[in-house]
């Protein structure tokens, strides 16, 4: 099993997301993450999909996406040099004793604390997979109340 990342440029209208995600379900493919957002061109969106599978099924995935009329362009981000980022938000329980440690940890990872109250704080962090995974590993030693990841997105260099 390999990990592949694809970027799809798709028409930005209702139903396109279900066409894409439905294809994965129908054909029995696994997706690790999927993120969507608008791009510089009007009426188009970009989806970044991290896919797990062997080379043959990856080829099929690409061909099946090509068959969808709403898919305009497919970029294989795993085949060429690319940069990837993901954003996470983590809500962590704070006490007077661990607050300082948490702030240090966030600073080391160049994250931001975007909310703070008596009981918890919310951290925002962006980075590539290695950095995000390492941070989550460390923050687990605290009491995580909620954690959300946006899924990866990337651009070819």
């Amino acid at each position: 099993m390999n990990k592949y990342t694809l970027a799809l440029i798709v028409n930005n209208h209702a139903g396109v997301l279900s066409k894409i995600s439905g294809l994965f379900t129908r054909r029995g493919y696994n997706i690790d993450s999927l993120s969507v957002g608008t791009i510089e061109e009007e009426n188009l969106s970009r989806m970044t999909i991290v896919f797990n599978g062997d080379e043959q099924s990856f080829e099929q995935v690409k061909k099946q996406f090509h068959k969808l009329i709403d898919v305009i362009k497919i970029l294989d981000l795993s085949a060429e040099p690319a940069v990837f980022r993901e954003l996470i938000l983590v809500k962590v329980a704070v006490t007077t004793s661990n607050k300082r440690d948490l702030i240090d940890l966030v600073n080391i990872y160049r994250g931001k604390i975007i909310d703070l109250n008596k009981k918890s704080l919310i951290i925002e962090l962006t980075g590539d997979q290695e950095k995000i995974d390492a941070f989550i590993d460390l923050i687990k030693t605290y009491e995580i109340k909620e954690l959300v990841r946006t899924g990866f997105t990337g651009l070819l260099r």
Binding site: K19, R26, I69
Partner: protein, 527 residues
Amino acid sequence: MKASTAIVNFLESEGVKTIFGYPGGAVLPIFESLSQSSINHVLVRHEQGAIHAASGYALSSDTTGVCIATSGPGATNLITGIANAYMDSIPVVIITGQVATNIIGYDSFQEADIIGASEPFTKHNYLIRDISTLGEVFKNAFHIANSGRKGPVLIDIPINIQNADFKGDYPQSVDISGYKPTIHGNPYQIKLAHKKIINSKRPLLCIGSGILLSHSRKELRAFVDATNIPVLHTLKGKGAFDESREEYVGMIGSHGHHYSNEIIKNSDLLIVIGMSISTRTRANFSIADKNVIHIDIDPAEVGKKIQTSIPIVGDAKEILNELISRDYSTDFSEWHKFIATEKNKNNNYLGKEAFIAKKLGKISNLLDEDAIIVADVGNNQISAAHNLKMNGKRRFITSGGLGTMGFSLPASIGAQMSKRDRQILVVIGDGGFQMVMNELITLFENELNVKILLIDNQSLGMVRDLQKAWYNHTFSVNFKRNPNFEKICEANYISYFDLNIEENISKFLGHPSVALGRINLVGEENE
């Protein structure tokens, strides 16, 4: 102009002469406009009949079939036929009515999400929310349905849109940024394929329905003339190549000729054109060690199920023309000798097959030179495929990929509507017939001179064979009671012939109007 009138005008611009449908509240504006147009509307008795008829129309006329149904149950009744058209790459445009845009999503009366439901088996679908896109959507839908790998395209139109005022024009051309099918084969790959062919000793052509869908029977014939390569076909590829020719070998697949699989084993090169290599097609042979040239319009089919040495994506007609233009000084006479020997070894029918083979053989001899055969699904279909001979002008239409029982009878409505002067023969079992016998009256009502050959074994023959093979008993595959088919015919004003009486066969085929001929399989012939 009222949008419903604009829609009917669009259909006329696309050359649509006949549409198959069933009205309901959410499509009445379109029906109103249809009543004032030149388009012929065939009123079926169930929406499934409409989509199968549109498919039969498309397959026999080589144009796009069109059907129409209302929202909710009307639309959902189409689903089996849409899935069938998708599996068999049949160009159809499906129009469904939808509840008004302001009440979509409220579980309104006769509301169903047909866009979501038809997603897995339409080539593309559209829900029209913005009336300004109406012209573009229709133009694109017809283009998408009948180009590239053909298939069904559904347009869902809310009733308030049908009643609104449309101010645009019908576009003259299409430009869909996400849809540019490859037509011309890669010249380098074609060069490689040519080299492979002239260096092979035991090549085989394996052809599927892609030859028929791309209208390349003439090109295939010319290619075989030039190369002398033996030809095998799939169930759906039947009729793409003249069966009386020396190069004709037979049908492949789980229900193909026994010898075909043996011949494939001995080949050194397979030239696969326009076939999806389904699980049933490659059931009985392995081609892991073969050189394979795979020609298909759909890149996703190439390399999907078998390893391909030379993939060529493009239109079969274009690629065959490219291949024909090259030199072939090949001699495959030894290979032809081997094939002839294999064919003679294992070419006899036994038991019940012999009985039906004799009957169908006689029918095959009596059928018109350009008859259109519409076979259903099951043992009747396989018997038809084995015993009704295709001379190159005849057509063989059936449900292959999805295996939809009850396809043939409604499909014959479409076939006859597109080819009024051709002889149409339906071959159907008693199981499939009982699923769609409500459409008999549609045949009569429209004065369609279809001949229905009912092979009645009082059971689901193919399922029974499978059940016996897998579980060694029969359960729920035999009909304890069948209707009186003669009376069913009488009630629908259709002539009935008992084909167990030999002389009736020619009377049945020569009957001047729609008729049903029944072969009743009993005793030893039905085990």
